[in-house]
């Protein structure tokens, strides 16, 4: 079985990527999800993962070259496939390949909006099928693009929704009473889409909001995945929260964003600029201050859900990076044995970006079991 290893599309605006290096030799066996090559895009770096098991028979991409989304980077096949067959596969592909036009919006999914209690929510949906739907919830100051390495991978047999929380992305910047309004809007979102029950996966503040929904509407939640989540302990790095709120220039914002990752070099100038553009939208400053004052005042987390979650009958998966500089990994370690906890080494506050392959695998298996 011959499978294409192509340049992936991470997020909505990616059109090309530069191959920085190969992580696997030609002839090596690979499994689904293994990182095969490192790629740099305008926004962030990531790993191209094996889409199928087999042997990496061809490494076609040259290190240092830029390739459009969809281009053939390599070929995975079985031992039994002949070189001639693989050559033919490559030749056929290259003859027919036309790079996606940057302006060709119709090629990929477009974001949509839903009106919930008079406020607009932007979302993106990948995947369809009979599986129980899932909703991905980003963290403080983020948006649905944070799931760029996960969204498609998770959408195998079910629709997966990634949301811009109120106050974030292109959703309404009116956060009402803060956490309560945000959590209510999540339930409202499920109602608006006619979804009875969904898997919820939340990162950081998104995890706390998902936990709040579990505590108030447990019947609507099929499972709960908490990634480096808020609401599981009483500390938070105030340098991150206060720094994020206060930073209004590149120089101030960069060190704040570096706290999100174990490897600070992941913070590109483009990433910093995107965050600043978001912060300069009318209403964002007010929204962030309201949420920070309520959920993360002066380095504390007054709202903790551990007890509620313990008592809940919803299956819970907790994923944390060992070197998280924002939410202490100690919060994960001190959870009771009733929680399934995965702590990833050499990983910071953003496991879903830093160790996307592992996180995708963990969540996919978790959802299938739940």
């Amino acid at each position: 079985m011959i499978t294409k290893l192509g340049m992936p599309k991470w997020g909505l605006s990616m059109t090309e990527g530069k191959v920085l290096g190969w992580l696997v030799e030609e002839g090596e066996k690979v499994d689904v999800g293994d990182g095969l090559a490192e790629v740099e895009t305008e926004k962030i770096n990531g790993e191209v993962e094996a889409p199928a098991p087999g042997v990496l028979r061809r490494r076609l991409a040259t290190v240092g070259q830029v390739y459009p989304v969809g281009a053939l980077l390599g070929v995975i096949a079985d031992e039994s496939d002949s070189d001639a067959e693989i050559d033919a596969f490559v030749a056929d592909f290259q003859a027919a390949f036309v790079p996606e036009e940057a302006a060709d919006e119709a090629a990929g999914p477009a974001t949509q909006t839903a009106e919930v209690a008079g406020r607009r929510l932007r979302y993106l949906v990948h995947g369809e099928g009979d599986g129980v739907p899932a909703v991905l919830l980003h963290g403080f100051g983020g948006d649905l693009n944070n799931w760029l390495f996960n969204h498609e991978a998770l959408s195998g047999t079910r629709p997966v929704y990634a949301l811009d929380l109120l106050g974030h992305g292109q959703s309404s910047k009116d956060v009402g009473d803060g956490a309560a309004t945000l959590a209510q809007s999540l339930v409202g979102f499920l109602d608006a889409l006619g979804v009875e029950q969904a898997h919820l996966a939340g990162h950081s503040m998104g995890g706390a909001l998902a936990s709040k929904v579990v505590s108030e509407h447990p019947d609507r939640v099929a499972s709960l995945t908490l990634i480096a989540s808020a609401g599981l302990g009483s500390d938070v790095n105030r340098e991150y929260i206060d720094g994020f709120v206060a930073a209004d220039r590149r120089r101030a914002m960069k060190p704040v964003l570096e706290l999100l990752f174990a490897d600070p070099s992941l913070v590109s100038r483009q990433l910093v600029d995107d965050v600043l553009r978001y912060k300069r939208l009318d209403g964002v400053d007010q929204a962030l201050r309201t949420l920070a004052a309520q959920m993360f005042p002066e380095g504390r987390q007054p709202i903790v859900f551990t007890d509620t979650l313990e008592a809940a009958s919803v299956p819970i998966l907790v994923i944390w990076g060992e070197r998280d500089q924002v939410m202490p990994v100690a919060h994960a370690r001190s959870l009771s044995s009733g929680f399934t906890v995965e702590i990833l080494e050499a990983c910071g506050h953003s496991p879903h970006m830093e160790r996307a392959g592992d996180v995708n695998r963990l969540i996919t298996q978790f959802w299938e079991r739940a």
């Binding site: 974001t111 590149r250 300069r280």
Partner: protein, 343 residues
Amino acid sequence: MARKITYMQAINEALEQEMRRDPTVVVFGEDNVGGFGSPGELDAWGGVLGVTKGLYGKFPDQILDTPISESAFIGAAVGAAASGLRPVAELMFVDFMGVCFDQIFNQAAKLRYMFGGKAKIPMVIRTMWGAGIRAASQHSQSLYPIFTHIPGLKVAIPSNAYDAKGLMIQAIRDDDPVMFFENKVLYATEAEVPEEPYTVPFGEASFVREGDDVTIVAIGRMVHLAEQAADQLASRDISCEIVDPRTTSPLDEESIYESVEKTGRLVVADESNPRCSLASDIAALVAQNCFEWLRSPVKMVTAPHTPPPFSPVLEDLYVPSSERIAEAARDAVTGKAGKVGAR
């Protein structure tokens, strides 16, 4: 993704959103509405090229036509700003600055200082600049260096629709007099622009492209030509970093120095005439403040020391081209000193 609109629509939207938010924002200029007193349609023009079209219907009390009396109505903007309004006045073509320059450089720019900080002049003057549409000498100049030179004035020069909307909203909310330069050729260019109001701060340059071998600081329309030059050079293994200052006063010097420190080489692409241009200003700042990082002499790519000509073949030679910018970048990398090309 945000929807795409043109540079012109972005400015119109910025004006609309600010006029809605703040009833003291008042827009006026020649034919900004168009048709006042005339028998036919009102809002006939909405500005000579249509930038302010539609605003009269939405805010009839906040937008006016003026007679062709720049000295009077630009001066009126100063007085209005000092006494409670936030005017956005239009100096249709920056080439017309001669008939009202006193009101700008001696009144608007200096009242706050001369009155010991007691006056506030929150006004914006929108004005068109740039050659390329064959409008000849008195409608094609790039006079922003003259305004950059004047203490008390701020100068914004957006190169794209996103920056145009954000800088305009910032300019209106800013409490100082702002000269807002709109490039005529860029009016039709599109970019992703958020529907919500947002600001772009003054004094923050944008890194349009990252690179290692040479820094190109490009003003306004030159940003797009610098990108073309960078594309040409990528195939010759020269990677260019393109810095768009967005505002020349205040100027984000730190970002320019940061970039020169990394690349060691500087090209400035500036459509104004060479003497006392932004190119010479930025070149001197770099020479003074990060000389030790320079590996080769600074290159300046500007228009020649002539008025803008009418005939298309001559005007095309007048405006700096992507080829000249690329040549300058190559010269910077090879260390070739002196003026770019034979000129």
